[in-house]
């Protein structure tokens, strides 16, 4: 399977994406992070997923400092970020509660802040982090236009949107939304059940998958569902002759015809390589369904 996927005429991402929501916790020096980025690029992973709020608004700057040590890497990668959530942390002392802000000014301000923190002149892809009950698609469209025309953001997408939320925003845009980043894993079948997968396939939009390993709980199964999944994942890992169940979980996502792009959130290069190796795993249709059925806990209707 190719480790490159065209989302539209102007944007291709690597099939496996490296995600940085826990970057602050990795406690890497700038040099160590630069080394990790270079190793990741050598694996063929060229797409890097950020958000303004990761690490309480710090992760983008960590990445930017590492990238500044070798700026030539920028042209080998696609940088993705997100905006729209405003945390009620010490970073925003004026806020009593977490809110979503999709005003023109806030979208533009946060995209520009991401550029500054990442140390780049452009984002390849900017996502709206979550759907919001207070949302003005016309205003969002104006913010996207401004960011696009200034060359600061090349492509736009969303995260955690339902079909109607996607459709409503799309109707107000001149450009096609490039992706919807949603939670998909052997343990989280939500988007198989809320019609999102069908919607994405209708429009030939490839989703990014966050938490593709279901948060890690399957490595130490506790609930009935985790035990069912762990057992079938082990069985299939053995049948496929792969070392670990994480590779089976990635292969399960990659086999699906929707073109799912898993976001790998690890700092360990061997764990990241395991995802890339999953591109070569040939899972059978019955194996795919065995995992699906173990997750549901019921045979198919």
């Amino acid at each position: 399977m190719e480790n490159k996927l065209a989302l539209n005429d102007n944007l291709s991402l690597s099939r496996i994406i490296h995600g940085y929501w826990r970057l602050r916790d990795w406690n890497l020096s700038d040099q160590e992070l630069l080394k990790l980025i270079e190793q990741v690029l050598e694996l063929g992973i060229t797409s890097f997923d950020h958000a303004d709020i990761y690490g309480n608004y710090t992760c983008e700057a960590y990445f930017g400092r590492a990238l500044a040590l070798k700026p030539s890497l920028r042209d080998q990668m696609e940088l993705i970020s997100k905006c729209g959530i405003r945390l009620n942390t010490d970073a925003n002392p004026e806020l009593d509660v977490k809110i979503y802000d999709y005003s023109f000014n806030y979208i533009v301000q946060q995209a520009e802040a991401s550029l500054k923190h990442l140390g780049t002149d452009r984002l390849d892809l900017l996502l709206l982090h979550r759907p919001a009950p207070f949302f003005n698609p016309e205003e969002v469209a104006k913010a996207f236009d401004k960011l696009k025309q200034s060359g600061k953001v090349l492509n736009f997408g969303v995260s955690n949107f339902t079909p109607m939320q996607f459709d409503s925003l799309q109707s107000h845009l001149d450009m096609p939304l490039a992706t919807n980043q949603v939670e998909i894993s052997v343990s989280c079948l939500e988007h198989f059940e809320n019609e999102n997968m069908e919607f994405l396939q209708k429009h030939n939009i490839k989703p990014m998958a966050w938490s593709p390993l279901a948060g890690g709980g399957l490595f130490k199964p506790q609930s009935d569902k985790e035990h069912r999944l762990h057992s079938v994942l082990k069985e299939i890992a053995a049948a496929l002759n792969v070392e670990s169940i994480d590779q089976v979980m990635y292969a399960w996502l990659l086999k699906h015809p929707a073109g799912i792009m898993p976001i790998v959130g690890s700092q360990h290069i061997n764990r990241i390589k395991s995802a890339v190796d999953a591109l070569e795993v040939e899972m059978s249709l019955e194996q795919w369904y065995k995992i699906y059925i173990a997750s549901k806990g019921d045979e198919l209707p």
Copy 2:
């Protein structure tokens, strides 16, 4: 904020609408009702919401008798009515159960009855009162065409419809549906959760909101949810320097970018004025979300 909203090229409603579902209970003389109507018009409220069945089929006639005392008022107002529900009351002794009737004949008959009771030659807007499991969009389209071509009804809409119900009917019509009248309030978030708000914003259709004060329960909170809401509404009323929480509830609806038109169902001119005054209240985005979060009982995801 302007107290006039264009629904399409031919129809503008006042942002605040006066509703008459309890008119019978107000026990007003024709003269008293006329006086109320004139006071309401002086506040800039020009749109009046009726339905054939209000007051067991009597409210429209009450209004018509008051209007007959000063017929020149008709051209200063937009008259809205609804049809489709057939009550199993003494008014319909042949019915054992309440049913919905969207046959060609029934729609035309009820629209004509509304004209007669209201004492007018035209409705500015006729709504289908509720979606129905027995519904023939082609037949409804024919009834709308007949009423439109005869000049008896100038615009058409629906009430309590889901996106698919709206879409299905719209597909069979030559004219655009003007609105969807649904229940929205700080306490009823249903249409933020069933994708209706996104659908309406996609098509730039402004909703009318019935029960915008949540039935009044928040003035004497009992449930946990009511206490949470009452507390945050009081806090925000103080911060905004407004006298009563109803004004905060109206301002919360008016701030939303979907263009919500609250239907005020009071006979008391000071209560009605409170809604109009809400047009001038400047609520912050965080205040809007504080109310939303208090209603849900959970912080945002």
Copy 3:
């Protein structure tokens, strides 16, 4: 009511359809089955519903052997079949679990198997049996194209699909899907509640109804719901002067404006005739709603 319904320019089905999912259990000789088919045709029923998997992959061949006794009947009938489910029975010893297979090869293979078993050179209509979490609409489109261009399948449809599933597949096809075969009965209102009826009416697609008698449970009511329905069906049967409640259940389906086509699964010609006779029953709107309300257990909102 006419016993013929145009689904598109090339396909008309009889309003009542004869279904063969229990054919194996009927234990009919080829001659007896031929006689039944001829009697059914005499009633004006020309459409026959099959699936590859009925009777653990045997029913189509039973039907084919009977038809072979009088091949001239083929041109008087429309043959419908389905594919996509792979049972983990002795017929597929390689499978540990039941799976769905909508690969190009499997669709073509199963359609060709249906032709062979039924002893015909063409299916008038091929349905995808169930929506699947693993589904590639582009691949399905190619299989449909191949089957259509070879003349082996004249029309295509789906079964048990939701609106988005239908829409997603339709978007990848050049030809319109002809129908969606779903469960509808006085006892199963699912498709009145999941927006499928509205979707079908929007696109003027007539549904086929499987299990139109709700599995027969209403003849010997046990649950509260069954007792409510049985009681109102008896009352309406008496009012309409029809002999049995099954005819009321068919009339309830036939009256609906969506153009529902009930699939009758009986081997008894008098039971089948009862469905055809329902075409002449004139149920009132209130009777229709009384049944609906009895099924829901609540009056209308």
